[in-house]
Amino acid sequence: MVATFVKVKADENGDVQIPTTVWRKLGVQPNQEVEVLVTPLRVNKPVTPVKLTDEDRARLHRIGELIEETFAGMDMEYVREGRRDRWL
């Protein structure tokens, strides 16, 4: 099966609907139950701070750990050289 890119918008409950316009591509019939494997390519978030849930806070703690693990020792001189390369 060829992958089909479907852009969806979650409602206030976080539920998403697959547009009827792509039903035929997916081979879906009305009222048919299907299983969907979802990998978000990009999540558009409003750029404003919000109060975090406990799950969000746990995730942010994990992000902090990963930053310490992965960014440590990053060669900023290499980064600066890359940025100063003249292109265009």
């Binding site: 109060k51 942010l60 992000i63 990963l66 930053i67 992965t70 960014f71 600066r80």
Partner: protein, 133 residues
């Protein structure tokens, strides 16, 4: 406050620099929001590929996309067009100009960086700049 975090912010955060730890606490408490350019991700992945630790980098970026109060922004047509003006008008290199335009388009209140090229009056007239040490 909406904060534009340049690549140096994350390096300083990995070193637990006090200012970055303070901001991290403000993100946790819901006071601050971090905006990150995809170009920072490109620089970060280059570092991780060199260390053969791309999996951890991908986990980090995946988690950052899922948590509120952090946003990784792509280079849109609007940002590309604005960056050209900043490149010419402020004499910024292309990568810096794109990152700067990204922060401005997101309405950032502050730019956090370790790159002194942003520490110029013409930049600070558009967005407050804080150089991390």
């Amino acid at each position: 406050m909406v904060i534009g975090a340049d690549t140096g912010f994350f390096v300083k955060r990995s070193e637990r620099a006090p200012r970055t730890v303070e901001i991290w606490g403000d993100i946790l408490s819901g006071q601050d929001f971090l905006v990150v350019s995809v170009l920072t991700i490109a620089e970060f992945y280059a570092h991780q590929i060199k260390r053969a630790k791309l999996a951890a980098a991908e986990e980090l970026v995946s988690e950052m996309q899922l948590v509120p109060n952090i946003s990784i922004l792509p280079v849109s047509l609007e940002i590309a067009a604005a960056s050209a003006r900043y490149r010419r008008g402020l004499n910024l290199p292309t990568v810096d100009a794109v990152i700067f335009a990204t922060f401005l388009s997101a309405g950032c209140d502050l730019l956090l960086t370790t790159d002194s090229i942003f520490d110029q009056e013409s930049v600070r007239n558009l967005i407050p700049v804080e150089l991390l040490v």
